[in-house]
């Protein structure tokens, strides 16, 4: 038996001839926040739906709290809170009613917390769901999720309809849960959010995991952005090992260096009298793009 909160092993899911997930592996340890990123249609939601026992794996599978996601779905659901990417609610019920129903279907009910979250997310619970915008429907699902006493939060693009302030409140809620030792799986398109919240990142493309690890370890595989100004012009910079995309402009040089070659490059340029040096690690966005851009690394 593993200690992982979530363990996906060789998960494959086919819809007819279409392979939505191809041998997916991922793990999430207790107390960790895992960022699950990938473009539309890559298989993020399908993975989540298998984890929740809504879809049945074609082969392989997912274990949540060491239990089988399909067979023990109900036991698992008692300890998780889920926010779907596309929240559909009952048009003739109010937001307040839906929140209470959702919380009651899981178990415990914390009135104080519900009230606090309603204020925090600025949601009017007396309105019928049919009048809610996408963002407000997401708030309903988020409030129901954070009002419940769960061990694992599965959040599928939860902030895609929220404004930046609400997005900030959302991040606070996630950090609060993390500090309580809860685990979070966050599927997201908003890279800054993932960078801020996640310990681990898992990138999926066309149903396959293409990269996984901590943000730092992922960065090792990519390039550092550098911007320098030197006394003398640098000779043959573009021919150095690991240097790419050199652009010279008014005495300043912009380029990218493979992580492993940074030391050698810095040594080389020192000879030309460095006046200014800025270096930035690759953003998650660049990391992400590097996997999707067909011309990328």
């Amino acid at each position: 038996m593993s200690n992982y909160t979530l363990e996906i092993t060789n998960l494959t899911k086919k819809f007819g001839k279409f392979t939505a997930l191809d041998n997916v592996n991922a793990t999430l340890e207790k107390g960790e926040v895992l960022g699950y990123i990938g473009p539309n249609g890559a298989g993020k939601t399908t993975t989540i739906r298998v984890m929740l026992g809504i879809l049945k794996a074609t082969s392989g599978g997912a274990k949540v709290f060491g239990m089988d996601s399909w067979r023990d779905a109900v036991e698992i659901h008692k300890k998780i809170a889920y926010v779907p990417g596309d929240v559909t609610l009952w048009p003739n019920m109010t937001g307040g009613e839906v929140i209470d129903l959702f919380v009651a279907l899981r178990g415990k009910h914390d009135k104080e917390r519900r009230k606090k979250l309603l204020e925090m997310f600025d949601l009017d619970p007396t309105k019928k769901c049919r009048t809610y915008s996408k963002g407000n429907r997401q708030k309903v699902a988020l409030i129901a999720a954070f009002a419940s006493d769960a061990e694992l939060f599965i959040l599928d693009e939860p902030t895609s309809g929220l404004d930046p302030l609400m997005g900030h409140h959302f991040q606070q809620c996630v950090l609060e849960q993390k500090n309580l030792g809860k685990s979070v799986l966050l599927s997201s398109h908003i890279m800054s959010e993932v960078e801020q919240l996640c310990d681990q990142v898992c990138i999926i493309k066309n149903g396959k995991i293409v990269d996984t690890g901590t943000l730092d370890s992922l960065r090792h595989l990519t390039r550092v952005n550098m911007k320098i100004e030197t006394v003398k012009p640098i000779e043959n910079l573009a021919t150095l090992e690991g240097v790419h995309d050199v652009i010279e402009e008014r005495g300043e040089v912009d380029f990218k260096v493979d992580y492993l070659n940074v030391g050698a490059v810095v040594e080389y340029i020192a000879k030309y009298g460095v006046k200014k040096l800025e270096s930035a690690p690759p953003t998650l966005e660049e990391l992400f793009m590097s996997h999707y851009d067909t011309k990328g690394v």
Partner: protein, 551 residues
């Protein structure tokens, strides 16, 4: 200014017809073909003046007049007078329903879905969408009226000439436009499509009742307040009045003008009735999977319960004269399934009793067919919840699939009992109040007759559960099967070979005679109950073992 308000209306009209090419075409075809089918059938059923006059006489009582409207031309009750009197009111209401759906679909529903906003962002006038909808409604109703009128005229039925047919068609178009304008008005007032549709439907009901009250008391003014009363004053094939159509048309224009005005002074997406705030917290009843299921099905089930009670009651209104009414028409006897060969050997009293018994059996069967609809609906709700992704809201929480589905299944089973009880009760209560001591039905007899059909209803529930569980993408099978069951039960005896009758569970119910001393054959009922249980179980197990399908 004015031109700008309506700019590009005709482009939107073209777009509306593009979107409507199937739905509205189907409505018009169905309505016209229905008209052209029923008119000759009715003329054949009552081929001579004597049979028609007797029919008119049997309908000439306050309750029937309240239900069907006044009888015009009774002293010379031609096939036309009969058709106009019996059909126009119901046809008008069917046309009203078509118009309400059409107008709400293109106004409030489109607005709610954000589609009107897209149109408005283009170089179209502020009122272009509503204007285009009403122009389209005008075209559709005129086409429908013309086709209905022409369709009736070309049938060449005696006493159903061109003038009468056209008056009937004109009345159809005019009443359609009135309800189109009413739907347009409610689409401005409420802020959501279901509210607009609901209020429009309520207006049909209210106008029907105003007309009923006026007609029953012979008060023309009250009747004519209601468009549905006014339309009957056309007296198609009797007087062929054109003024009611003109008044209706003028009414439609006035109501439309109000709708235009309201539309022009309100913000997009808003209504005039502010959405009432609802409960901030859920009632304890809602806080469970079953509570949610009840909440989802509650309104539909209550409406159906009322409808079934009224339906039972409406059949009972004819009970007084039923034996002479049916006994004089061999065609009726055949449809209802009176064992004609046994009739001759009986005394007059026993003949009447047998006819009434057969009528009771027939009514029970008809009501039971209608009762299948809400039961199928209740189970099919599971599928629409699943398709729209709402089932996941429940199933990703600590709720077992079989428990979730069982909520719907249990409600359907319980409701099958309630619905049969209410229909039987409606029938009995009204039959007693109309016929008094002459009511040939006993309450226990009726209850037994209706309850005998329960196992057949359960098989229908079981079948639906099976399909939803096993073949979630093919749920149309359920309605196709229902169509076959309804057709076989209604017409099957007349046109289908015996072996084919075996495909409908209703056939195995031993057609009990509701009066007295009848014997129910319990064997098929027990077998059917068993089949229903097996189908239900397989359906629930399959549902628990398959993917949730959101497409």
């Amino acid at each position: 200014m004015l031109r700008g308000t309506f700019a590009n209306s005709f482009t939107v009209v073209k777009f509306i017809f593009r979107r409507e090419r199937i739905v509205t075409t189907a409505w018009i075809l169905a309505l016209v073909l229905f008209t052209m089918g029923v008119a000759p059938a009715m003329a054949n059923m009552f081929p001579d003046m004597a049979s028609r006059s007797q029919f008119a006489a049997s309908f000439n009582n306050p309750i029937m007049i309240a239900m069907m409207g006044p009888i015009y031309g009774a002293d010379n009750y031609t096939a036309g007078a009969m058709y106009g009197g019996m059909m126009l009111l119901w046809y008008a209401m069917a046309v009203a329903i078509m118009n309400i759906f059409f107008v709400v679909r293109h106004t409030r529903a489109d607005e709610q879905a954000g589609r009107v906003e897209v149109v408005r962002s283009l170089p179209t006038g502020r009122l272009a969408n509503l204007n285009a909808t009403m122009i389209s409604a005008l075209i559709i109703n005129v086409v429908l009226g013309l086709l209905t009128g022409l369709g009736l005229a070309v049938l060449g039925i005696e006493d159903m000439g061109f003038a009468g047919s056209m008056a009937y068609g004109a009345a159809t178009a005019a009443i359609g436009l009135v309800f189109a304008s009413i739907a347009a008005l409610f689409s401005q007032i409420t802020s959501n499509a279901s509210g607009a549709t609901g209020l429009s439907f309520v207006s049909i009901g209210v106008f029907y009742m105003i007309r009923a009250a006026g007609d029953m008391q012979g008060n023309e003014i009250i009747s004519c307040i209601s468009p549905l009363g006014l339309v009957l004053r056309t007296q198609a094939y009797v007087q062929n009045n054109i003024w009611p159509s003109l008044v209706l048309f003028a009414t439609a224009i006035v109501i439309s003008a109000v709708a235009y005005k309201l539309n022009s002074i309100r913000d997009l997406g808003q209504g005039f009735v502010a959405a009432r705030p609802g409960r901030a917290t859920a009632s304890p009843l809602l806080k469970s999977s079953f509570g949610l299921t009840w909440r989802l099905l509650r309104n539909m089930l209550i409406i159906w319960a009322v409808v079934m009670f009224i339906l039972g009651a409406s059949y009972a209104t004819v009970i007084g004269d039923i034996s002479s009414f049916i006994g004089d028409s061999p065609e009726y006897m055949e449809v209802i399934g009176v064992p004609v060969d046994q009739l001759a050997a009986l005394s007059e009293a026993d003949q009447a009793k047998l006819i009434v018994d057969s009528f009771g059996t027939f009514v029970t069967l008809m009501m039971t067919i209608v009762a299948i609809v809400p039961l199928i609906n209740a189970i099919m709700k599971l599928r629409s919840e699943e398709r729209d992704g709402r089932a996941e809201n429940v199933l990703t929480r600590a709720v077992r699939r079989c428990r979730y589905m069982s909520g719907f299944v249990i409600l359907a089973y319980v409701f099958s009992v309630i619905i049969q009880f209410l229909t039987a009760s409606g029938l009995y209560v009204v039959a007693t109040s109309v016929a008094g001591d002459a009511n040939p039905f006993t309450y226990t007899g009726l209850l037994q007759a209706f309850f005998a059909f329960l196992p057949a209803l359960w098989v229908m529930i079981g079948f639906t559960v099976l399909v939803v569980g096993l073949l979630p993408k093919a749920t149309t099978i359920v309605w196709a099967y229902f169509g076959v069951v309804a057709f076989t039960s209604f017409m099957g005896r007349l046109v289908m070979p015996d072996w084919m009758l075996n495909i409908t569970p209703l056939h195995f119910v031993s057609q009990p005679q509701p009066m007295q001393d009848f014997v129910i054959d319990y064997t098929p009922l027990i077998i059917m109950t068993g089949i229903a249980a097996v189908l239900t179980a397989i359906g629930i197990i399959s549902y628990s073992k398959r993917d949730m399908i959101t497409s």
